[in-house]
Amino acid sequence: MLRASEEKPVTGIRAICGYIGIVCMLIGLLALVPLLSLLRYAWESVFAPAFIFPGIACMIVGYTLYFVTIRGCGNVELRRRDGAAVVFGTWVCAIIVYALPFVLGKQLTVSQAVFEATSGLTTTGLSIVDVTSCPNIYLVHRTLMHYFGGIGLLLVLTCIVNDTQGLSIYHAEGHTDRLLPSSLKTARAVLVIYTAAILGGIVAYRACSMPLFDAFATSVSAVSTGGFVVDADSIGGYHSAAIEIVSIVLMLVGATNFLQNFLIVHGRFSEALHHEESRAWFLTIAAVSLIGSFVLVAAGSASSWGDALRTSLFQAVSIITTTGFQTIPSFAALPSTLVFLFVLLMLVGSEAGSTAGGMKMYRVLVMSKSLVWMMKSEFGHRRGVRTCKIVRFGKKLECSREERRDVAVFCGLYASAFIVGSFIFTLSGCSFGDAVFEFASCLGNVGVSIGVITPDSPDFVLWTGIAGMFLGRLEIVPVFMGAKRLLDATREWRNLER
């Protein structure tokens, strides 16, 4: 008789655990998907338990958590920081559950498994696995981790659970653009775009005569800007300009803001293209490609201008979109100018609101514009009134003080993390440039390796890498906010119990 929303709302640790429980059920279910590959590669069934047990266990634990906390409560509310706590909790659970198959199947050690799982879910792409000897079921597993991590586990949740909370969690993960009025429609639209691009990619790759399995894995990897490949030599192993071009297109799609993709698909070109971020982005790509080709030719590494441009363009796109595909044998052999440029690209990253990593071009744009504005106000006409504007999606939007401050703070945090991580890498004995390159790759979720992280790396290197990837994907702040909120919530629950 009473409507459910008239009841007292459930909040705090109960609500958080409840949502984590729901997502865990989903995580567990998705962990079982690689089992489908057994239909094709039936001889790999010996590995099936390694997937079944973690998956089912996760689902059971998730259901129990959900049952004990919020099942049957009509009114569950996630307060301010709870979204971050849910995100933090689910990411940790997902990493653990997706690492277990590697451990149980005796493919990797614990640290290595966690590394691989983190790399997959954060769409970094640094891999410890030897793809030539890896069972197919694991290759599928890695690819699927890219797919789910790319759009966020919670996006999938939002699609299934009709809940207004879904969007707050989605935003807490770092996605901030709203496509459509309803959060549910937004989530579904994003999923559709994403999956459609992947399917298109598979078709395109097949047209370039890539084997089906490779096409599937590479297409997912490209659109999610992950970087896991099934060929030991990455994209370079196919020796096909057509494949490279298709890859470039897919990578660009993945690294473009979802809203932009949505607008383009619906024919609203003027809005989509009047976007300062895109302009800066493409300019950067063009500039680096050109400079890169010069450098390559000058250093004699490339046989012709065309070759140099091709290599340079591909790698520039691959790195700035934080995908991590390689068409060159090794980054260690590159001239240091190029390495330097690539590190910069890794730090900058691609558009905000996409699957890509890095600091995001939007923030870099705001920072550089802030500098200009500051200079102008310091040295310009005293009484001039200036508002700082950025053009997004065809509209001139004001960049408020708070926003600039937030961006500056984030850049500061990012830089600090970068410094600390690179330092730790140097402790492993590699050179300064190598350490910087490798950690930038981790933090920016890029996935190109200069050789610091190998299957033989010591554990502390792996865990630093894991930390870098995790912080980079969740954009640093939600990690600490979420962890703290979780701790606080547990403490308050224990106080309540007393």
């Binding site: 008789m1 009473l2 099936a48 338990p49 079944i52 089912i56 259901y63 049952f67």
Partner: protein, 503 residues
């Protein structure tokens, strides 16, 4: 298994998902080499979850059966056949079925109980809220309206509550009202009616009828007890409101009685004195008609006249008073010229003024205001009389009126001594006099003393006009009585004023 297609689809999806998961687990266990017991434990878990999530025992049992069949087919020897060789497996299957059935029943029952408990808690909360609302009701109709609204909202159908006898054409409602039990849809009589009628019963009988629209079906069992609680509470509230009204009425009656008693007590004394005087004088004149000289005879006759005039005045005052007290009839007002009213009043009193001087201050312009001329004249007369009686001889009395804002303020001022400031605001009280307490125990009573009604009559008259009256000491050493009357519409001012003539 009933429910909309959507529910059935949803339940089927849940069961299918659980079935697939269960099979995957069985497969995994088989690969690792775990025995049937582990599988059945997982199946039991899955069946429990199925019952919880579908809310129905039937689907749970269906899942269990599917599990048994599939497991038998795929994982027990002989494989891919529905026969079981191993005794171990037979026993496990059998126990599983029993456990599944028991769990199924338990879970279903538990779900129901939880649902009932939750609903009861909510109902209690609702009833509590309603009681609070009914306590705050200010009338019987208000309480009924409140309850009807709440019931409508909760039952999600139109509900109305009427007090007293229902309309002529509604037989079912009348039957309910007169006989005091439920009629209408779903009841034993008038079962074909659209509405259900429930009586509002109390100790005094049926107070009214609750009509519930049952066109979309009878109210469910759980709601019935709630409805009964609400009806009981409403009856109590209505009864309470009625009793309150009754008690207020009785209090008013009592006040009237008290007034009449006081009145009678007061006047009996005052009537006797002048009557005694008249009787004495008349008796003497009759017995001594020849022996009395003309002067004495005239004096005695004058006394009789005076006393009878005094009696007449008093009786008139009393009548005015009772008329004021009882009047429900609206005051008759007509536009009257202020000047004329004042002049009239003064001339009536002039005879009795004695050594007092009375002067008139009329307003500058000739103004008309709506008033009951006779009553206002009476007021002025009372006020002047009062001044005459209570001031020292030779005092000066001013009578007049002036316009202040949208009121016409009349005043009667004297310089004859003033009134004790402490008693200023009590002068208008009933039976208040300066030389006697209201209860009337004074042994002195001369012709100069009053009954104490005059000023209170003034107040009643003025207040009936929608005006105000007050007394204050002025700076000439006397008292000013003033009263204001609303001018109503803009007073008509005639440019050419007719010449006033002294009467």
């Amino acid at each position: 298994m009933n429910g909309s297609p959507k529910t059935i689809l949803k339940r089927a999806a849940i069961v299918s998902l659980l079935f697939c998961l269960g099979m995957i687990v069985a497969y995994g266990f088989w690969l690792v080499g775990l025995k049937a017991e582990s599988d059945f434990m997982v199946f039991v878990l899955a069946v429990t979850i199925a019952i919880l999530e579908t809310g129905s025992g039937g689907w749970g049992v269906l899942l269990g059966v599917l599990y048994i069949l599939a497991y038998d087919y795929f994982f027990t020897m002989p494989y891919h056949q529905l026969r079981i060789f191993n005794l171990n497996d037979w026993v496990a299957c059998a126990v599983f079925i029993v456990v599944a059935v028991i769990l199924n029943t338990l879970t279903a029952r538990l779900q129901r109980q939880v649902g009932i408990a939750e609903r009861d808690a909510r109902v209690l909360g609702r009833l509590n809220k309603m009681s609070t609302g009914l306590i705050n009701s200010t009338s019987a109709e208000g309480a009924c309206r409140y309850s009807a609204n709440e019931l409508s909202r909760i039952l999600d159908r139109p509900v109305s509550i009427t007090l007293g006898e229902p309309a002529e054409d509604n037989e079912a409602a009348r039957a309910c009202y007169h006989d005091g039990y439920a009629t209408g849809s779903g009841e034993s009589i008038y079962a074909l009616e659209r509405n259900k009628y429930l009586p509002l019963n109390s100790k005094q009988g049926t107070l009214g009828v609750v009509a519930i629209d049952c066109v979309s079906g009878d109210i469910d069992h759980a709601s019935k007890s709630f409805v009964n609680s609400v009806i009981t509470q409403t009856s109590i509230a209505v009864e309470r409101n009625n009793l309150e009204k009754e008690s207020v009425r009785q209090e008013v009656e009592m006040k009237h009685e008290r007034f009449k008693t006081t009145l009678l007590r007061s006047i009996s004394h005052d009537l006797r004195t002048p009557l005694t005087g008249i009787a004495g004088s008349a008796e003497y004149l009759r017995e001594n008609a020849e022996t009395t000289d003309a002067a004495t005879r005239d004096k005695l006759l004058a006394d009789i006249v005076e006393d009878s005039e005094w009696l007449t005045d008093m009786v008139n005052s009393l009548l005015d008073m009772t008329r004021m007290q009882d009047s429900g009839a609206p005051l008759e007002k007509e536009p009257e010229v202020v000047d004329d009213v004042i002049a009239d009043a003064v001339s009536r009193v002039a005879r009795r003024s004695g050594t007092h001087e009375i002067s008139v201050h009329a307003p500058q312009k000739v103004t008309l205001i709506p008033m009951n001329g006779q009553l206002i004249r009476q007021t002025l007369i009372n006020l002047i009389d009062n001044a005459l009686k209570h001031t020292r001889p030779g005092a000066h009395i001013d009578v007049g009126a002036e316009q202040q804002g949208d009121e016409m303020v009349f005043f009667v001022s004297d310089n004859g001594g003033g009134i004790d400031p402490a008693k200023l605001d009590r002068v208008f009280d009933l039976f208040y006099t300066q030389d006697r307490t209201p209860a009337g125990d004074g042994l002195t009573s001369g012709r100069q003393s009053s009954i104490g009604l005059g000023l209170s009559i003034c107040r009643s008259i003025v207040e009936a006009h929608g005006g105000w009256i007050r007394a204050e000491n002025n700076d000439q050493g006397g008292t000013t009585f003033s009263f204001g009357l609303p001018m109503g519409q803009k007073p008509e001012e005639t440019a050419d004023a007719p010449a006033r003539k002294e009467e």
